[in-house]
């Protein structure tokens, strides 16, 4: 026995077969009547509509035979699928392919077989319409043509069924999707919309059609529709965000994309309701603005009385309103130091707000790092005569940044280092080349940053130990500001720390050519 071969397009063929949704379906009169009609026409006892599945042939309709399927390897129809041609076997016993086939040697004892392919519009053969007899026969050319005609009719019904089923599926998709869908004429008239429109905008389909696309949009957005339509008509995908007015008066933000079907001349528009995310973004911006305004007002309200306190204490301390000495002078000086610290905290909070909110304007220049570092170190020495900072800068390195901001970053890192270094031990500042970057390292000989605190070092108001605030004389904003500034300047900041040995903060900025090199 010769088993039927598999066609080259077997996978696609099986996929096509499954898409008709006909395998293992219920008995249907229309197909049953076909097989009866064909059996009578050809005067044969057996007629079948057979669909060839991966391992079997399954009969959609049958007359004169028991059982609804047989294995594919013994099937005659499998040969029609493999050879892509009608198959006529006038006498199976005379045919080497079939004489020992169990369907020949056993029931239903096939002697004659003729099968016409069931051919899809895409060219796949799903199976056959076949006639079978238990005695040898012949089939004339015109009879074969009739059988093929029946096969085409069966195919046509399967095709119509599939289209109807697909259409129902698409209709269901159209109605159940959460997206806005509209089919629009080139003139902008809405031809069809899905239920989302009425659910979300509160308009009946008739109202939608009457109002038209443009009238539903907020007037300023009308031009966006036109632009997107032009893009779609040119074969592209028009994308835009549109504010649409619901019947209740609220505004619905919809993000659209529009494509055109050039055959029909219709525009297919699909839109997603993005109102929630736009509102969330607006709310976030409003909160950020409020926070920023709050910080400004509070800072101003704090600063005004603080100015009075600080200036008054300064005048007392300066002896302008009478010489002070002994304990009264000491008290005034303590108060003055406190007032100055408070002023610095307020400055820091404003700085942080400016950097974080993007209010900070940068003045970018090509800067030689050691010059800025020297200035920061000199100012620190002038302010604090106990500070000892040692600078190592073996070669001049140029970077592009705002020198005042770099000065501020270095000042913050230096004062942080001073606070945590035992007095008398020097702070090291090293400026060196590191790959394509320049690296500035500020090292102290302090106690190191406790491991548990390392993750929070750059958080505002973070302190390793709450008692540090008083002891170390800082609010905990210096490093937050330094990090925010470094990031604004597109640099990197990180640190390494060893307990009881010290901490080193590293800054990294991409190097640029020195001005002299640029000239060459």
């Amino acid at each position: 026995m010769k088993q039927p071969a598999l066609p080259e397009d077997e996978l696609q063929r099986l996929h096509a077969l499954r898409r008709y949704g006909v395998l293992d379906s219920q008995i249907e009169q229309v197909f049953d009547e076909f097989v009866v009609l064909v059996a009578k026409t050809f005067d044969v006892p057996i007629a079948l509509i057979s669909l060839v599945d991966s391992e079997r042939q399954w009969f959609k309709a049958r007359v004169g035979i028991e059982g609804s399927e047989t294995p594919r390897e013994v099937s005659f129809c499998g040969h029609v699928v493999a050879d892509r041609d009608p198959l006529i076997v006038e006498d199976t016993l005379e045919d080497v392919r079939f004489f020992d086939n169990p369907l020949v040697t056993g029931g239903p004892k096939i002697r004659f077989y003729a099968g016409a392919p069931l051919l899809t519009p895409e060219g796949y053969i799903l199976g056959t319409f076949c006639v079978v007899d238990q005695k040898p026969r012949t089939l004339r050319a015109d009879q074969l043509e009739t059988l093929q005609l029946f096969a085409r009719q069966v195919m046509r019904i399967l095709e119509l069924r599939r289209e109807a089923a697909l259409s129902a599926i698409y209709r269901r998709l159209f109605e159940t999707t959460k997206a806005f869908v509209a089919i629009v004429s080139q003139q902008g008239t809405i031809l069809e919309v899905n239920r989302v429109w009425s659910d979300r905008l509160g308009l009946s389909p008739e109202e939608n059609a009457l109002r038209g696309w443009f009238k539903l949009a907020v007037p300023e957005d009308g031009s966006k529709i036109l632009q997107a339509f032009e893009i779609a008509k040119a074969g592209g995908v028009g994308e835009f965000e549109l504010r649409m007015r619901a019947k209740a008066g609220d505004i619905c933000w919809v993000s659209w994309h529009v494509t055109e079907d050039t055959n029909e001349g219709f525009l297919y528009c699909v839109g997603h309701d993005v109102t929630a995310s736009i509102k969330a973004a607006e709310e976030a911006a409003r909160v950020a603005r409020m926070k920023s305004e709050f910080v400004s007002v509070v800072s101003h309200e704090l600063r005004t009385p603080l100015t009075a306190v600080q200036v008054a204490l300064g005048l007392l301390d300066g002896g302008v309103v009478g010489e002070l000495s002994g304990e009264p002078r000491e008290m005034v000086q303590i108060a003055l130091v406190g007032a100055k610290r408070l002023a610095r905290v307020i400055d820091d909070i404003l700085d942080l707000r400016d950097v974080e909110s993007g209010l900070l304007k940068l003045d970018l220049q090509d800067v030689e790092l050691s010059g800025v570092a020297r200035r920061a170190i000199a100012d620190l020495h002038a302010e604090d005569d106990r500070a000892r900072v040692v600078l190592e800068a073996p070669e001049p390195l140029w970077v592009r940044l705002d020198p005042e901001r770099l000065y501020q970053i270095l000042t913050n890192l230096l004062s942080n280092a001073i606070r945590f270094s035992p007095s008398g031990l020097p702070i090291g500042v090293r400026i060196e080349h590191r790959g394509p970057s320049a690296r500035v390292s500020v090292s102290d000989c302090g106690p190191g940053i406790p491991e548990a605190f390392q993750a929070r070092v750059f958080e505002p108001f973070a302190q390793a130990d709450a008692s540090d605030v008083r002891r170390k004389n800082g609010a905990g904003l210096g490093l937050s500001i330094a990090k925010a500034l470094v990031e604004r300047l597109e640099g990197k900041i990180h640190f390494s720390s060893t307990e009881n040995e010290g901490t080193t903060f590293h800054l990294e900025f991409p190097c640029v050519l020195a001005p002299s090199e640029v000239l060459q």
């Binding site: 800072s299 101003h300 600063r303 005004t304 009385p305 603080l306 100015t307 009075a308 600080q310 200036v311 008054a312 300064g314 005048l315 301390d317 300066g318 302008v320 309103v321 007032a339 002023a343 400055d347 404003l350 400016d354 209010l359 900070l360 304007k361 003045d363 005042e404």
Partner: protein, 128 residues
Amino acid sequence: MRISSVLVVDDEPDIRALCKLSLERVGGWLTFLAASGQEALELAEARQPDVILLDVMMPGMDGPTTLHALKNRGSTAGIHVVFLSAKIQKHEMQGYKDLGAAGVITKPFNPMTLPRELQRTIDAELAL
């Protein structure tokens, strides 16, 4: 130019009083006080001070508006004006200078060095 008289304009009475102490006793200058921009215009015209120390944030007529009015009057246009302001950014400083101010003194200021700082600001402007 050696400064010998200053008009302080600030809506906060405490700040006015403290400025007066600093400028009179540390600087040894004749000091006039104005509580608003409007008052500043009248006093500037009447007293013709060498310098006006002008608060930026004031209710009603604020610092920049007052400066604009001063510079647009023939009798006061030549008086040096220095702003007194909360901490500012560099670009804001340039903005104030573009308005015609000689400079900015930031709050809180050091009363023991305020006169020196004012003198230096005026010297720097005249050197340009």
